[in-house]
Amino acid sequence: MDVMPKWAEVILVPLISLLLAALLSALVILAIGEDPIAAVTLMVKGALGSTYGWGYTLYYATNFIFTGLAVAVAFHARLFNIGGEGQAMLGGLGVAIAALYIPWPHWTLALIGCGVMAGLLGAIWAAIPGWLQAKRGSHVVITTIMFNFIAAALLNYVLVNVMRPPGSMDPASARFPEAVHLPTLHELLAPLGIAFSKSAPANISLLVAAAACIVVWLLIWRTRLGYEIRAYGHSQPAAKYAGISPVRITMVTMIISGALAGLMAINNVMGESERLVLNATEGAGFIGIAVALMGRSHPVGVFFAALLFGFLYQGGAELALWTSIPRELIVVIQALVILFTGALDNMVRMPLERLFLMFRRPAPPANSADSEPKPGPRSGQSEGAE
């Protein structure tokens, strides 16, 4: 039986994990001779103290929403897609192809066209490992890792040998035409009379990301496909019994996941750099793992976790600027979040469960309306014992 109430499982466990990660990070800051409280203050000021800071925080958050959703959707089918990074790179390639080689009349159309291309290439890059898993039984974790490296090599090749404008030394594509420029938050909010920093990169992709959260929520919890994805994730034999095709679910889930990761490119490539550069993804694909874990694979959780990481990224950049703490502090925090919320969550859960059990013992279990004892999750032995 469930030892803990749902709110504890959904909120308390991740929160405590997060606190542990924060505590260790504070110790790290102390150890390198800085003041953690001052550091946090600086981060808050840098990331949330101005519209400029907010603009960067939201820009990063947009990236992380896409990659976080990508990992989360795959998690529902018990697929661990570590390939968000590669899929986002391919998404960037898709955006670049669409933006450079198609004459778009207006940014709205360009956004749709580039978005479709980004999603498509990201989906293809995830579909291949998906197919290998579904049809050949190759572990999707290993293949997606391999595909990250292959994507990096591919992108390197394309940028150096194909897309680089003649005469340029930079391994980057040409600048996108003016017509595909996406409105930034500054441009969007100005008509409403809200002054927003002009130089911050947050753009309309943020709204697309928020919409993606809603769509994913509907998909997972309101559609038949989502129902099947979750059923397959919980029990493959049961899914087979119910006539849910493992091949189809694996493929479809990976395609959706890859498309979401690929879509990130409308933010970083189309919205920010406006050309395709090497390492445009800056590890956002991997941060998606931390975001999905912290958000418990729920779009609402992913949204807030992405905001948190956006804050950490912008705050971390400010730290690196004003103190001797390098940006890599954020990588450490990210690692600790993944570790505590993803791999060590039993370390938090086990004592918590004991605590709840202790408080509960005097009263009968909440859900035993009748006198029948309920079997515990692992005591199949006691099943049916009355």
Binding site: H234, A242, G243, N367, E372, S379, Q381, E383, G384
Partner: protein, 533 residues
Amino acid sequence: MTDTAPAIELKGISKAFGPVQANKDISIRVMPGTIHGIIGENGAGKSTLMSILYGFYKADAGEIFISGKKTDIPDSQAAIAAGIGMVFQHFKLVENFTVLENIILGAEDGRLLKPSLSKARKSLISLAEDYGLNVDPDALIQDIGVGMQQRVEILKALYRQADILILDEPTGVLTPAEADQLFRILGRLRSEGKTIILITHKLREIMEITDTVSVMRRGKMTATVKTAETSPPELAELMVGRKVLLRVNKKPATPGDVILDVKGLRVVDGKGVERLRGIDLQVCAGEVLGLAGVAGNGQSELLEVLGGYADGTGNVTLNGTPLDLSGKKSDGQSRRARGVAHVPEDRQREGLIMDFQAWENNVFGYHHDDRFNSGLLMDHAAIRADAEDKMARFDVRPPDPTLAAKNFSGGNQQKIVLAREIERNPDLLLIGQPTRGVDIGAIEFIHEQIIALRDQGKAILLVSVELEEILALSDRIAVMFDGQIMGERAADQTDEKELGLLMAGITDTENEHSVAEVEANLARAGGDASKEV
């Protein structure tokens, strides 16, 4: 009597898993050189007790004495040191190791393998001579049969100098011939002075081989008696706590048209082994066809291929139209569309998503039905209302559709599955092990539902390893053995003896067999009849 100390004595053992008390104040004495049976229903707490004795679980209270000496058994290592060996229901062997490697694992002499291996090879030869336990020491486990693997498990224990051998449901996976051999080996071990504890839920086996027997019910030890001084009916009553009358009140069947017609059905598993070797059977509207047999003789494969999630070859028609046995049109969805409902053998692995709430499980497999959807989205309100309705009518307790499936008892889980499958008004119901792990009260309810469905004119194919259940519910009975149908009988014109012979693969049930052969085969067949043949 003698003043020898008992080989094993347990005093006041108790063990709880969360709110479930698996063992309550259990005491037991087993004398050396005897075979002691422990019998009880599924979930009575037998395996838990033995796992405590083998150091797998720690008892909450109680003491263990080995040969009169108080012994602590915190882990398996301590159990082995105390001379206890255990043969688990699911073997604990490394599949891609050789027999020899499995035998020395954990009992090696020194850090290098070579001396251990040659010593084990020698000792294997002498063990084979002493007890008739022949195995090829260099065969890989994955290449040998189940009976042989069980022999390796016994050898493992003997190689560790075990004086006490615990066997947990050892015949469940064996063919009758293999079970026969096992019992001969056990007899031999007893005559060599070993003490054996045999856990089973089959009365036949208790009567056949044990010297004394303890009965467990709901975590308690209800009695310990000399086998010679008891009878199967008495044991059965002790097991379930009241007189067992598995008689279902039913009218004679009025079979209609043939609904399911199976001809020459074959299934080959992933390893290339033919699991179904040409099955022919028919199920008519308004009748229950019971499929009897020892577990693992192809019944599961038959249900899977008819349920649409295993591939097969042959000719199968439903209501006169062919059913696809492989390819796109052969999956659970297409079967449901054709009016086939399926209550699978393993409800926890297949029939339910244990982490889904009851209402979500209520549409599992039928989630594409129009009435559960509105447009692109699922209609949660409709599904919930439907679930509440079904739970009320099938008396699922507690009637809370938001409770996860794993939080219901076995019987109530089965009711959720049954309600889902029956209520869609199928033409054919496939139902496997309908009452496995289900308490007595729910058993009666489930049996009534099956008969009610029959009386509505539905065709029902029932698979069960409990012969009693088959006899109580079926109108006709087919017996499976080694992937084939051994024979078919009308339920009111056969008995457990005849079915037992068929289950053992003996088809000429008319002729007299040697008494030993009949008795032996019958005993392995898993029946529950009286002792005298």
